[in-house]
Symmetry: C2
Subunit: 508 residues, 2 copies
């Protein structure tokens, strides 16, 4: 690398760092919007977010970046730039080039208008969900779909704009590729769910005995620390929909939500978000605060969160370790509950309405429903006004239940109100990646146990660190999967895991 190149790289990194800080500032506005914002503050917040989006877009599309990229040899056809540059810098250039190419195609006014509409749409969704009033949310949803379509047009997608949106969350993925994995997934999961339905359901009545939410909060705080969450570098708060957000290199926050009659809701949300947070918190120092200092993709992110939540968090060894802790917090409520009973309740599989509360077997079916609807919304086959009805109908057909209210149906998730179309498939892809990684973990760590080892899962954290976290966003998902497991994406690891587990639980 020449000294001129080194100087150019330094300049590019300075702009990149500023952009990351602008994103983090916008993230704080978001975090606060979901956690502490007073009811009437929504309109100003929406303006503030739009303003930040505009400033970010303006910086990130400044011609100076295009000039520096070109001077470092990075073009749309050769994004990694000059071969003499260090690998890490070439990976950096690839990501910046791809993002830059995408960003410069969106006019600044478009970005500002979309951000503003998003703020209002989110507020309208919160209200509509609370009041079971889909029609009041519909105009916002239509707007968000139009913005997303228009964005895909700006990016040059000429077919179904949905493919352009999928690429945001899962680079290189399109709807045909997803169909190819989702079809076997749906077939084998349907069989399993049907088999399970023929067996008696576990006793879950103890879960709704009325668990004081402030005691739940204390348990969740303790649990996340025992999983390895460093509260000097993050925190846990409450929001309507749990999420993880990075507000700084040393500030990763998660949220959960408490229901006194749903003991598991907060627990598994907390574990899930911990999985996301560990990924963000463990990015190597030299990548932090840069465009490659984050997770590889939404799907790989979900591979982490769902691995912690399900593969570890819903396993018997995990609860053999943590059951005494929760029993300490709820001695009366759990007096007559054994760890086996607790474990079986944590793995009850049955058709249900709410995605984030769904069991491991039916979860992917919830995703497949959304994926189908999104495809049709963007191909024009489905009118947004017809969504509530189509939702109810397809829920019945795919999962076997029908929501009584739209709040428990089409309004349940925040993704569409936030314009995140194409995000849902990542959750299911995460399941697949996660189990492919887990096969490697078990072969690399002899006698691996999902119960906490004495030092807060240190062995597991070390493995994830050396194999996944260390790469940040340097590799695209297929490359990462190949590097870690030597394999391509497939559904077998997940399906074998889930069939074995559930055949055991339900004695099939």
């Amino acid at each position: 690398m020449t000294s001129v190149q080194s100087e150019k790289l330094e300049k590019l990194h300075a702009i990149d760092r500023e952009c990351i800080h602008l994103e983090q500032i916008a993230s704080l506005l978001h975090w606060d919007q979901e956690t502490y914002l007073p009811e009437m503050g929504a309109e100003d917040r929406s303006d503030q977010l739009a303003l930040m989006e505009g400033i970010y877009h303006e910086r990130f599309t400044s011609p100076e970046i295009g000039k520096l990229l070109a001077e470092l040899g990075s073009t749309s056809d050769n994004p990694r730039g000059d071969e003499k540059l260090p690998d890490i810098e070439r990976d950096f250039l690839r990501v910046v080039r791809k993002e830059y190419d995408k960003a410069v195609k969106l006019p600044n006014e478009f970005v500002i208008a979309m951000a503003k509409a998003e703020g209002l749409s989110q507020a309208a969704w919160v209200k509509a969900r609370k009041e079971n009033d889909f029609p009041s949310f519909l105009p916002h949803l239509v707007k968000m779909i139009d913005f997303a379509k228009q964005g895909a047009v700006y990016w040059g997608y000429t077919g179904n704009p949905y493919d352009g949106l999928l690429d945001i969350y899962e680079p290189g993925m399109d709807s045909a590729a997803i169909d190819a994995v989702f079809i076997p997934l749906r077939e084998r999961l349907s069989v399993l769910l049907k088999d399970i339905s023929s067996k008696p359901a576990p006793d879950v009545s103890f879960l709704s005995r009325g668990y004081d939410t402030s005691v739940q909060a204390k348990f969740n705080e303790e649990l996340m620390k025992k999983l390895g969450f460093d509260t000097r570098r993050g925190r846990l708060d409450v929001s309507a929909h749990p999420f993880t957000i990075e507000l700084g290199s040393e500030d990763v926050r998660i949220t959960t939500r408490y229901f006194s009659d749903l003991l598991f809701s907060a627990i598994f949300s907390t574990i899930h978000e911990c999985g996301h947070a560990f990924y963000e918190m463990s990015i190597p120092k030299e990548l932090r605060g840069t465009s490659i200092g984050c997770g590889a993709s939404m799907g790989v992110h979900e591979s982490q969160s769902r691995f912690w939540e399900n593969v570890l968090g819903r396993s018997l060894p995990f609860w053999e370790t943590f059951f005494p802790l929760i029993k300490k917090h709820f001695p009366k409520e759990l007096a007559d509950v054994s760890v086996e009973k607790f474990y079986q309740a944590a793995n009850e599989a049955k058709p249900s309405l709410i995605r984030v509360e769904a069991d491991e077997v039916s979860y992917c079916l919830h995703i497949i429903l959304r994926f189908e609807l999104e495809k049709k919304l963007f191909s024009g086959e489905l009118d947004p006004a017809d969504l509530p009805g189509v939702w109810r109908q397809r829920m019945k057909e795919i999962i076997g239940v029908e929501p009584e209210t739209d709040s428990d149906g089409v309004l349940q998730d925040t993704h569409w109100s936030g314009g995140m179309f194409g995000y849902f498939p990542s959750y299911a892809l995460g399941n697949l990646y996660g189990l492919q990684f887990y096969e490697k973990i078990k072969s690399d760590i002899p006698n691996f146990s999902a119960g906490a080892d004495k030092d807060n899962f240190a062995q597991l954290h070390a493995w994830l660190n050396d194999n996944i976290y260390v790469w940040g966003r340097r590799l695209e998902p297929p490359e990462l999967l190949k590097k870690v497991t030597g394999q391509k994406l497939g559904s077998d690891a997940f399906l074998n895991y889930i069939e074995t587990k559930y055949r055991g639980i339900y004695r099939l």
Copy 2:
């Protein structure tokens, strides 16, 4: 007003609105820093704040503002611009012109560097205060003083740069003018404090009986609502040092702090911050989100907060109304306490160490101490390294007590770590304005009572609205005082009030 003028005004308002939003975004970063930021997030936060300051400064000093101001006839000598413009717009121009003139004199790099240093200085102060370690904070303090001095130089102050700083918080005020009011204040308060010292102190032992802080929090939430705080438009949180901050036209937040053995600490902080919040929350709609949509000055702001805290909050009628409420929360702890005893404890006057916990009589003496030190720090007569010693010595001489630790001495307040030199005098000026306003309130509202009327102080809120809030920042403090009371600034109203009140309590 011509259509060309109207168009120019619209453009100026659009930029102004954007600047206000940028300020609000920076305020959220600050609020979060003081309330919820994880320990290790401080460094990134400091970078984020510096970045926002830079962006704000860049926007607010854009030549377009200067051009629009000039086109509307606003110059440094005639800031209110063309006489044909509506009064409200002329007041707007005056404020924007004054701020613009000040802002363009500060180089952008200077503003960024100062903001970054401020973030680190705040973090260092929090740590130093916790660990009673002034030397670790000293280099930050020196830096903040240098930045403030340099700022005054940029603004063209050739004498003591301190006068330039005073003008930020209290327009038109300089150290000579403050001396003129502080001298009689100090003389009469010293006599009063001495007289009080000859009398037996009220029994305050019940205040440290151990009041569960989560119950305190519930009481404070209830109390603020009863004073008229609309929680749809704001919220109450906890921070090391209580403050009020505006994060949006409909989002004004206050903080307090809880000590189980200091029952009054949180209560009077909450009432104090409510006074600030009511002012910000009640700015007329047509001024909100503009440069004249805020309080007139720091001093006038303090006139509101200290009026609610002391004149109302430490009065007998107030507690005749609210004592049953607090007794409901602490029935055991307050079982043997009468409202009279509670009232007298709330007004114990005695030499003490901590400004924010000081009684009404000695409070101004705390301010006079800081004012003296600030003057000398900026004239060069006092070396910052000597501050802890000089602080102890002057505390002894002025107030009669000496702190054992710097945490209870020179490190107790956040102002200096935040670079807010020249702010302190506003607190005492607030006392003076507040009592001048109160004389008018009593003459305008017959039989005014500091106990809550049935509709949450509606009469008082209406008066404050019509006389103070309605002006926003349209008038400078002396104009506002004249308009409301017909008088100039003086110390008699305050001194007469406090002498009467304390002669009653202590039977002098």
